[in-house]
Structure formats: C-alpha cells, structure tokens
Symmetry: C2
Amino acid sequence: MNRVDGKTWRVIRVTQPGLALCLAVAASLAGAEPAPPEKPRTMTDVLAASKPSDWRPLDPANTLYLDIAAGRVVIELAPRYAPQHVANIKALVAEKYFDGIPFIRSHDNYVVQWGDPNGGDKEKAKPIRTAKRHLPAEFSRPIDKALPFTPLPDGDVYAPEVGWSDTFPVARDPEAGQTWLAHCYGTIGAGRDNAPDSGGGTELYVTIGHAPRHLDLNVTLVGRVVQGMELLSALPRGTAALGFYDKPEQYVPIKSLRLAADVPEAERTKLEILRTDTETFTALVETRRNRRDEWYLKPAGKVELCNVPLPVRAIGKAAQK
Amino acid sequence: MNRVDGKTWRVIRVTQPGLALCLAVAASLAGAEPAPPEKPRTMTDVLAASKPSDWRPLDPANTLYLDIAAGRVVIELAPRYAPQHVANIKALVAEKYFDGIPFIRSHDNYVVQWGDPNGGDKEKAKPIRTAKRHLPAEFSRPIDKALPFTPLPDGDVYAPEVGWSDTFPVARDPEAGQTWLAHCYGTIGAGRDNAPDSGGGTELYVTIGHAPRHLDLNVTLVGRVVQGMELLSALPRGTAALGFYDKPEQYVPIKSLRLAADVPEAERTKLEILRTDTETFTALVETRRNRRDEWYLKPAGKVELCNVPLPVRAIGKAAQK
C-alpha cells in the first residue's frame, strides 16, 4: 500500500548516498574497507534516545479536560501569556459554566468554537456567578529574560522571530519588545466582537486548518490542545455563514470541562510533553528540517514553526507523535 | 455572539483610524472640513467589483467529480504540472477503476487518502485494464515563459519564490529552473512507496491540515479540490498507524469518480474560479495581506501562500469564499 510519506518508525537503511559515496572514495584511496556511513537520525531515533528529564508533565493547575461524547480533549493553558484570561477561564470552569455549553461552529480549514448560543442576548445568556464576561485584551506581552525562548532558524512570513517558549509556539518582535503565542494547529483563543475588550474566555475557538497567523496580535490566545484534536477537527462542518451550525440539534454539547487539579487523581489523563529547551528538541527540529526517513528523496532544509510537532506521551509510555 | 474574526461580508465603517487622524489634522491646518477617509477595500468589496472576465470556468476535460455518500467533491487536475499522471488518472477514471475504491486513511492535520486496500497484493489487487500502475515521478517541471506566474511578494519558508500559476499555488527555484505545485490545503497528490516511480495515481491523497510543504518535490501533485473539501476534512480519523482505518467497515467508499466531460451537461457542477493573472486577484491578495474588515485591529502586512483563498463560484452566482 502506497504511503504519502514514510512516517512509520522503523530503521533507516541508507539515506545519504552522497556521504556514502565520499566515504567509499576515501576508503578506496586509503586501500581500506569503507567504514559504514553514519546513519542520520530520524525523529523516531531522537525520541527513542530521549532522557526522562527531556520531558515535563502537564501541570494539573493549568490543564483542562474537555469531555464530549466522543471522548476527552486535553488542553494546556498558558498563564504566562494570558494571565487574566486563564484565571477567568479557571473561574468559569470552577463554577461549571461550560458544562452543557455546546460547540456551535465548525468552520472548514479554520476553527471550531464553543460558547453560549444565547451569549449575545442579555435576557437569555447563561448566568455567570463569579467570573467575568469581558476582559482587557492580552494579545501580546513584553519580552522578558525570565521567559524561555528556543528560536527556529528558518524565518517566518509573519513575524521577525519565531520559536518555542516552554513548549508553546511563539512569535516575537524584538524591536517592539513584544512576544505572543502563535496561531498553529490546535491553538485555543478567546473569541471577541469588534472591541478588543469584548472577549474574556466565555467563547473559545480551536484552530483546525492551515495556521491562521493573520489572527496573531488580534486575539487573546489562552492555550492549546495537547491530546484529542482529532475529536474536534472531525466535527461536521456547519453550513451557516462562518461555519456556524444552522440548527440547535447540530450542536455538540460539552459534557464537562474540568481543571485537572480538581479531578480525582485516578481519573486524570497523565501526560508529559517534550521540553523545547533541550538538545533533544533541537535534534528533533533538525529531523523535521531535513527528513532522513528513507521515503524522503529531497529534504526541505527548512521547516515552518507550525510544522514542528510537539511530542506528547502518557507518563512512562512511548511518545505519541 | 462573539466571532473569531469579522469574516462576515458587510460594509466597513472605519478601519484606518491613523489615516483618519492624519486627514483630520491636515484639514484642521487648512481650516477646511475634513474629507471623508477613503474606505480601504475588503475581500468582499473586491469580489463584488470583479468583472466576468476575471473568472474562468473549470475545463470539463480536466475536472473530476468524486461522489461519496455525503455529496460531491469537485477536483481540478493540473496537466501542465503532471501530464503523465493526469493522463493516467483520466484513464483510470475512464475504466471506472475508482468506483467502489474507498477512503482508507484519515490522518489528523495531514491527509485523507483513497486507494485499493489490496493494492499491495498482486493476487488481490483490483485489476487495471488500460491505465498504468506506476509512472516516472513528475515532482517538478522546467520554468517556461508560456507558464503564467503571479508572484507573492511576502517570501516563503520553503522555496525561493511562490505565487500562482493559472490559479494553482506554485513554488519556483529560478536557479534550478524548476517550478512545482505547492502543498496547500486541498492539494491532491499521488501516493508512492520509497521508489520515486512507485506512484502513478491509483492512490491519491488530499491535504487536510497545515500545509505539509516538506512534501513538495517528494511527491507528484496532480491537482486540488475546488469544492467539497468539508466532506473530506471531516471524515473520522483513522486510529491505526498513520491514520489508516483499522477495520474495513470504517472505509468510506467512492460511489463514482467521473470526468466532467463524460457527465451529461445537466448533471455537471458548473463552477468558475477567480483568475490569478488579474488586477482583481492582486487586489484580493492585498486584502489578505492587510485585513481591513472592521474586526481586525492589527493587519498582518504579509500573507502566506496557503492562506490566500482561491474564490470559486457557481457560474453566474456570487463567490463562495
């Protein structure tokens, strides 16, 4: 069966014929047996050689479990980038505001979104007890030495610099002294109306297509999906304008949205993510810049920020991707 | 109801406060009434002002209708980039090879793929009568003055130049004298095994996530989906390795795959696409580089190749996107 690519994790035979040739020529000049060519590492090799300290567990105080009929979606919040929105989402979660709130939108190659279908109607909107409905924008934050940053060397169409900060894909503008979370696949943002302070976290969207980076600096991003994206990205697309569902019977209700710290230990989904400030991650990025899996004939030599996977695994298990 | 962005197509009120301010200051200096600021155009405005000659109909000789239970997917082939593969796919379609062949793979943030589940088994593989099973690779082709090219000015992480050629997103390497179709959302490629000539068009994939541009120059691309992507992108994800479906009962069969030219006129889906060698398209790209819809607070100033939509409409109707 043909494959699009060789993503299977198996042993590489020969991937650098040029190098092998050079070694053969050198060996022939020296009259010796050619040394076996050094095998370039694939992502599988890099992950297999990772150390336990290359991984960090998700912090239960910043992890959400979004349960729908199809299963559980695990979300990691980014309090360093959107402290007020994250605190407000936790307050909404604590008062179980989101339980029963549905996915109301599935816009192809763009976003799925959940929120109160009556959110815009003061009379009918679901009441909020302790949390806030609106917050000032947190579109970017100052660059700070305390904030880790692993740069990607390949440039970016949208921002002067891109890379990762504590496993989150980020962009930076050193001249403006600002940094922000970048919209990649699975990023979660707070929907808003035209006013910058009209969001707050009661409506959240998840990107499901080609990274809509033009939304950067226009929306407060609050985190990203770490596991379960396939449950959201395959939701039937809405047929009304902007991918909203036409009829309430199409809504996909949230059974519950909980902070991991509030869930009994035995019911938690315990995951760890590859740290991005490690040599292992730098080696992984290199395997994505230059694919050496035997299927590839022409490595790209570069990689886009949003094409670098962030490996996640159950604690103590092999990496998922 | 909060929106992620202001994609609704409506009249813009004010979008350039900076410009408005400058005009007001200038007017105040001159002691005159301020002139109303010129409204920057949105994509809606640009499409509404398009001329009939800005559009070209799909050529029935290079258009496929892929019918599944959920509906029809309209595909445009790219014979200028993959002449042998396109001819072979037409031959396969002519002998109804694909009728009953299923989608066997739905890999999140990557591809859906159809093909003979027994394709790798010489005994069980579905027979091919006149077409070929394997073809030489057509990963790129020479740059040729006869080939139109509308460049995108914003650069690209993967290729020296990108832009559009007769509405297809393409990349180019002027030094190597080569050009190729770029993997964007909805691009269709011919799956292959490790050998470059192990594909041929019997298995085809469609990209459903962030553009996997690292596949460029590694696969023969044969065309793209023009309408109906949402029927493919929302297929349930496969749970076996690489997103293949675990069990045959999960397969999604193709009811029929036909060349538009072979379908009675009354049953055709008549579409036209915005030409990319027009001033209207250049203006549209500018509305994507700098979004002036009132929801946007900070236009990006640039745009990635794969974030520029290619508007399609039923002939004689308003544009779909």
